[in-house]
Symmetry: C2
Subunit: 356 residues, 2 copies
Amino acid sequence: MALEDAFDDFTHRDWVQETVDGTVRLAVVGIGGFARNRALPGIAAGRYCETTALVTGSPDRARTIAGEFDVEHVIGYDAFRAGNHAETYDAVYVATPNSTHGEYAIAAAEHGKHVLCEKPLETTVDRAEEIVDACSDNGVTLMTAYRLQTEPVVRRTREFVRDGVIGEVVQVHGGFAHPLLDHAGPDTWRLDPDLAGGGALVDLGVYPLNTTRYVLDCDPTAVYATTRSNGGPFADVDEHVAFQLEFPTGATASCTASFDAHASSQLELVGTDGKIAISSPFGGVVPQDIVVESGEMRTEYTGPPVDEVCEEFDYFGYCVLTGADPEPDGADGVADLRAIEAAYESAETERRVALE
Amino acid sequence: MALEDAFDDFTHRDWVQETVDGTVRLAVVGIGGFARNRALPGIAAGRYCETTALVTGSPDRARTIAGEFDVEHVIGYDAFRAGNHAETYDAVYVATPNSTHGEYAIAAAEHGKHVLCEKPLETTVDRAEEIVDACSDNGVTLMTAYRLQTEPVVRRTREFVRDGVIGEVVQVHGGFAHPLLDHAGPDTWRLDPDLAGGGALVDLGVYPLNTTRYVLDCDPTAVYATTRSNGGPFADVDEHVAFQLEFPTGATASCTASFDAHASSQLELVGTDGKIAISSPFGGVVPQDIVVESGEMRTEYTGPPVDEVCEEFDYFGYCVLTGADPEPDGADGVADLRAIEAAYESAETERRVALE
């Protein structure tokens, strides 16, 4: 592939292979800030999904939001688990606290509904595998909501890497800092290890982790991690984490995440014959700025922004409608949890932890 | 400090405190590519040093270079060690293979000559400490040649950090890749562990290591490292290294270095209230591009380039002439070797290694 061709049609949906009609009717389970501010508008802006139900513990608040987004049904959690009103939706988007993903995803699968589940898939490998099994047993599609995998700048980066534009990847640097308490109170479930399964690593570190795995198209063989907390609201979780991954190709990834630092993110890959640097890849609104160096050639590209959340829901809807297997499937979500569990073990033991 | 003031006079030599006359007469010991292409022109362009002697094992080649740079004396290594022609210089710049730094630096100190010694100071902590002791015993100035410490963009970064422009530093990413065999044959001493003391970590990793220590103004308390070699010309040393440092402030630094990847370097500091990213800080010709985010403010600055090697020699000359202690002193060089030894131990044992 010539570099210039890649930039010609940077945001094209390479995953669309056929024309499909209809939409997937979605129940959005859990109406937190991300669901309201990003997911519901993203679904509304897209083509292959529509929100037909909100599942919530706060029916009054949900009814206001339902009005705003023209959603017909508001369902309580108990009714949802019981399968009441299941005829109003074809699939669910689970956006509840991490430790409840299994409960809702498995209930949905048992009612024959396809599942798009927020990352991390659950709080442990075992619990995540229960989701995978339930979806498999019930013959429904399971996608882990890694929005970065439908982000054009990340998809193009994977293509560059696959096509050898930067040679063999040698070293990756990835970081994601997001000052949690600027956007949430200290009682947020993200700071409760039982509900969240961990701290900055689980919530933010999973972005450089998953994106690096996706771009390199392989899983880490070992991890080392250092976690740190200054106490206070962060007393029970990792406020900051630095971790280093080894891949079977020999590449390493040096990653960081922080709940309590200036909002910023970065991803840079250095290969034997070039490098790729993406500006602010993880913050949710990606500027599509990418620098690609290949041999003597250097290209800086700033693409038209896309709504990656809209891309994500449309990708899920397209997969459900066509019966395609989503790339960020359940196994993908489990692989990250395996790395996360190993990273926490490493932080505890101060040793490199090998992964199967 | 207001950010805009810092950019007003970005390249000023803040280390010049008084007017001094005269120059330091330098013997350049070891005439490799860096000495010829960067050091001799840098000294010639500067104000406080002049090259009066070349010390070499290849007198014919040295005479050509001496002619080119108008250097009066060419001295053989044996004669140099014996102190012959010591009256022709006041100080030495040692740019020989790493494991010979001690031999020449100590000989110079014993002849009462000040020493500017290339990094790493030697191949082990013990050998480096012998240099420190010899210079101390003989009352001569010792500077480790960390050119980055006289690089304006790095000095300004340290000032920003000191002044709290980005709050407390939380996480650093630093990397330096330089394809060695594009510039040297496979028989280069840099690939001989006895002469070099190690591979990419020693030769390149020392840049993000030292620069991070300098900017944070403290020493690491622990290190973890992974090294890798694909064999061939790199069989005996680390071709690639990824290492993670912990600092007493709680900050971490995620660093990489490679002898066999696309030429690139980066340094990024994320703090509680901002971030600083320097483009291509380590490659020797620094574009003076820096992005500083402080709270809501973002500044991108591209300064006039300076010759950082000229800065380095002038800084050394100024210190010798005024009797000032150079900041990159012998202890600074020893501290890096301590971290490097611990990193190699970590790579061997697959464990975090604590530093005293």
